[in-house]
C-alpha cells in the first residue's frame, strides 16, 4: 500500500531528521511509529501525505510515487487525524465532516447522508450534526476528527498522536473503538505515538524509531519478547510483560525439559531409572528418550512400589489423566485451567498434540519472580 524507500529528511543540509528510512506498509494493517520526541516519527508520517517534503528517497503510494500526485490530490486520498483535532470552530460538526466531500463537489444530500452515517459509526448521536466544536468534549471532538478523516472513505489514514491529549479512560475507549472500526473497515493506518501501551494495544506492527532510523519493525509480541537491542528493550520497558499477561503464552512459561520414560518399561526398571535420575515424577511416552510425542500420562515413583507394580509395564500403570494446553494459550488462561482442574502441572502441546513442555506451579512462579525482580531493579535505578 505504502512503501518508503531510503527516505531522507534533512534541514539546512546538516540536521538529519529521518535517515534513509525503509518501511513497507501492508494494506489493512495498523502500523505504529513509536519513539521519543525528535526521533523523526511524525516527520516520517507527514512525508507520506507531503505535508513535509522529503529531501531524498522515494515513497510509493499504491505503487505510484507520491511525487506523481499533486499534494492536494494526494491528501484527499489519505485521511488525516491530528492530536489537536483542528475542527473548524465556526462551522457545525456536520459541516466539518462534510468539508472534503464538499470540496469534491458531492451533492448536498449525499454529503449529509454520509455525515450522519459517520456520526453513527463513531458512536455519536445525530443531534451532534448541528452542534459546534466547542460544545464537545475532547473525546467527542476526536471522534469527529476520525469521522472527518473517513468522510470520503480513503484507504489510508494517518494519525498523529490522536489520543495523546485525552484522559486515560477516554483514550482507552477510543483505542478500543479504533480497533473496532478497523475490523469493520479494514483501513491501512499509520499511527504515531510515544505511548508504548498504546502501540502494543493497537499496532499490527510496530516500528521503534530513534535518530531518524527504525531500530525494529515487528509485531508487538516480537518487540516485547525479542527486542533487537538494549534501547528497544528499555523503551518497551522490562516490566511490560508483567503488565500484559495476555502476551505471555504457555510456551514462554513452560519447562522445556521434561522427564519422559518409555511406556514399555516395567515398573521395577522405571523405579530404578527415576531413582538414578533423582526424580519422583515423569511422563510416560510411547518411545523412549524422545520428548516430542503424544504423552500418555504421569507416573509417580510411589506408584511403582510393591510387587504388583514392579511386574507391570508402565502403559498399564498410568492412571493420572493428562491436562494439556496448547502452547499459544496465554498466561491468564493457563492459570485459570490450573485452578479449574486443580492440576498442579499441565502438559504443553503443539498443533499436533505433541508435548513440547510442562507448566508447573513452580515454573509459573519462576517466571513471575523473574519479572518482579526485573521490575524492582528498574525501580531501584530511579
Amino acid at each position: 500500500m505504502i512503501e518508503l524507500k531510503n527516505v531522507v529528511k534533512t534541514y539546512d543540509q546538516k540536521t538529519i531528521v529521518v535517515d534513509r528510512l525503509n518501511l513497507k506498509i501492508e494494506k489493512g494493517q495498523i502500523i505504529v511509529l513509536i519513539g521519543e520526541s525528535g526521533c523523526g516519527k511524525t516527520t516520517s508520517m507527514k512525508m507520506i501525505n507531503r505535508l513535509i517534503p522529503m529531501s531524498d528517497g522515494e515513497i510509493l503510494f499504491d505503487g505510484k510515487s507520491i511525487m506523481d500526485y499533486s499534494p492536494v490530490e494526494l491528501r484527499r486520498k489519505i485521511g488525516y487525524v491530528i492530536q489537536k483535532v483542528g475542527l473548524l470552530p465556526h462551522i457545525t460538526i456536520g459541516e466539518n465532516i462534510e468539508l472534503v466531500p464538499k470540496l469534491l463537489n458531492w451533492d448536498k444530500k449525499k454529503r449529509r447522508l454520509r455525515a450522519l452515517e459517520l456520526l453513527e459509526l463513531v458512536d455519536l448521536d445525530k443531534s451532534y450534526y448541528h452542534r459546534y466544536a466547542h460544545e464537545l468534549s475532547g473525546g467527542q471532538q476526536q471522534r469527529i476528527g476520525v469521522a472527518r478523516a473517513l468522510a470520503t472513505n480513503p484507504d489510508v489514514i494517518l494519525m498523529d498522536e490522536p489520543f495523546s491529549a485525552l484522559d486515560p479512560m477516554t483514550r482507552e475507549q477510543l483505542q478500543r473503538e479504533l480497533l473496532k472500526l478497523q475490523d469493520e473497515l479494514g483501513k491501512t493506518i499509520v499511527f504515531v505515538t510515544h505511548d508504548m501501551d498504546e502501540a502494543l494495544k493497537i499496532g499490527d506492527k510496530i516500528a521503534v524509531m530513534k535518530d531518524g532510523k527504525i531500530l525494529q519493525f515487528d509485531t508487538p509480541e516480537r518487540i516485547l519478547k525479542h527486542p533487537v537491542n538494549d534501547y528497544v528493550e528499555n523503551f518497551v520497558g522490562k516490566d511490560r510483560l508483567w503488565k500484559l499477561p495476555e502476551m505471555m503464552y504457555a510456551k514462554d512459561i513452560m519447562n522445556r525439559k521434561v522427564e519422559v520414560i518409555g511406556a514399555r518399561r516395567r515398573g521395577l526398571q522405571a523405579f530404578e531409572i527415576m531413582k538414578s535420575r533423582g526424580i519422583r515424577r515423569a511422563i510416560v511416552v510411547e518411545k523412549e528418550g524422545k520428548q516430542q510425542q503424544v504423552p500418555l500420562g504421569w507416573i509417580h515413583i510411589n506408584q511403582l512400589r510393591g510387587q504388583k507394580a514392579e511386574e507391570k509395564i508402565l502403559r498399564d500403570l498410568v492412571k493420572v489423566e493428562i491436562q494439556a494446553v496448547h502452547e499459544t494459550e496465554n498466561l491468564p488462561n493457563v492459570l485459570a485451567l490450573m485452578k479449574e482442574t486443580e492440576a498442579n502441572r499441565l502438559v504443553v502441546v503443539d498443533d499436533e498434540e505433541k508435548m513440547v513442555g510442562v507448566v508447573t506451579q513452580s515454573s509459573v512462579l519462576d517466571v513471575l519472580a523473574d519479572l518482579v525482580s526485573e521490575y524492582e531493579e528498574e525501580g531501584d535505578e530511579d
Binding site: 494526494l74 473548524l88 470552530p89 465556526h90
Partner: protein, 213 residues
C-alpha cells in the same frame, strides 16, 4: 439652553455638515478596507516583510495629522480628494494590523487539519483564515472609523467641509457655542458608529466562536 437654541437654529447647516463628515470618513475607511485587508493578508503570509510594512504603517500613524494635511496641499491641493487621501492613510494602520494579527493567530491545528485534508491555499484562506479572523478585522475597521471621525474635523482646514467647519469657525471667532456645535455632533457620531460597528462585529462573529469564552 442657549446652545440648544443655537443648534436648532442651525439645524440645517449642522445636518449638511454631518452628512459631509460621514461621506469623507466613510469613503476613506472604505478605501482603507479595500487596500488594508489584502495587505494584511499578504503580509501574514510573508513574515519577512510583515515587520517592514507594519513599521511603515506605524510611522504614518505618528505623523501629526495637522502636519500631514499641510504637507498634502502642495501635492494634491485642497478640498475633498486630499482630505480623503490623508484620512485613508490614518485608517490603514489599524486595519492592516488587525488583519495581520487575525490571520496569524488562527489556530495552527485548524490550518494543519485543513492542509492535511487537501484544501488548497486559497480554500484555507477563504474557508478558514478569513472567517476566523473576521471579528478581529472588524475590530480594526471600527478603530479606524472612530479615529477618522475625530481626525476628519481637521480636514476642514484644507476645505473638506464637515463638522470641523463649525469648530474652526468657532475658534477664529472665539465663539464657544460654535465650537460645541461642531464638537458635540462629532463626538455623538463617533459613539454611534462605535456602537453600530461593534454590533456588526458581534453579528459577524461565527456562532461557533461565540460561546468559547
Amino acid at each position: 439652553m442657549e446652545l440648544i437654541r443655537f443648534m436648532v437654529a442651525h439645524a440645517e447647516d449642522i445636518f449638511g455638515a454631518l452628512i459631509q463628515h460621514m461621506k469623507i470618513t466613510g469613503i476613506a475607511v472604505a478605501f482603507a478596507i479595500l487596500i488594508g485587508v489584502p495587505i494584511g493578508i499578504w503580509i501574514s503570509k510573508k513574515q519577512n516583510i510583515a515587520g517592514f510594512v507594519l513599521g511603515v504603517a506605524n510611522i504614518m500613524q505618528t505623523i501629526p495629522s495637522l502636519a500631514l494635511f499641510g504637507l498634502i496641499i502642495p501635492i494634491m491641493g485642497i478640498g475633498f480628494k486630499p482630505s480623503v487621501f490623508v484620512l485613508l492613510l490614518y485608517a490603514l494602520m489599524p486595519i492592516i494590523k488587525n488583519t495581520y494579527i487575525g490571520i496569524t493567530t488562527v489556530d495552527a491545528a485548524v490550518i494543519e487539519a485543513g492542509r492535511g485534508m487537501g484544501m488548497t491555499r486559497m480554500q484555507i484562506l477563504k474557508m478558514i483564515e478569513v472567517p476566523l479572523s473576521l471579528p478581529m478585522i472588524m475590530g480594526g475597521i471600527r478603530i479606524s472609523t472612530v479615529i477618522n471621525i475625530g481626525t476628519a474635523t481637521i480636514a476642514a482646514l484644507i476645505g473638506a467641509g464637515g463638522l470641523g467647519d463649525f469648530i474652526f469657525r468657532g475658534i477664529s471667532m472665539a465663539d464657544n457655542m460654535m465650537i460645541l456645535t461642531g464638537a458635540i455632533p462629532t463626538a455623538l457620531l463617533a459613539l454611534v458608529m462605535d456602537a453600530l460597528l461593534n454590533f456588526v462585529e458581534v453579528k459577524l462573529t461565527p456562532k461557533g466562536l461565540k460561546g468559547e469564552e
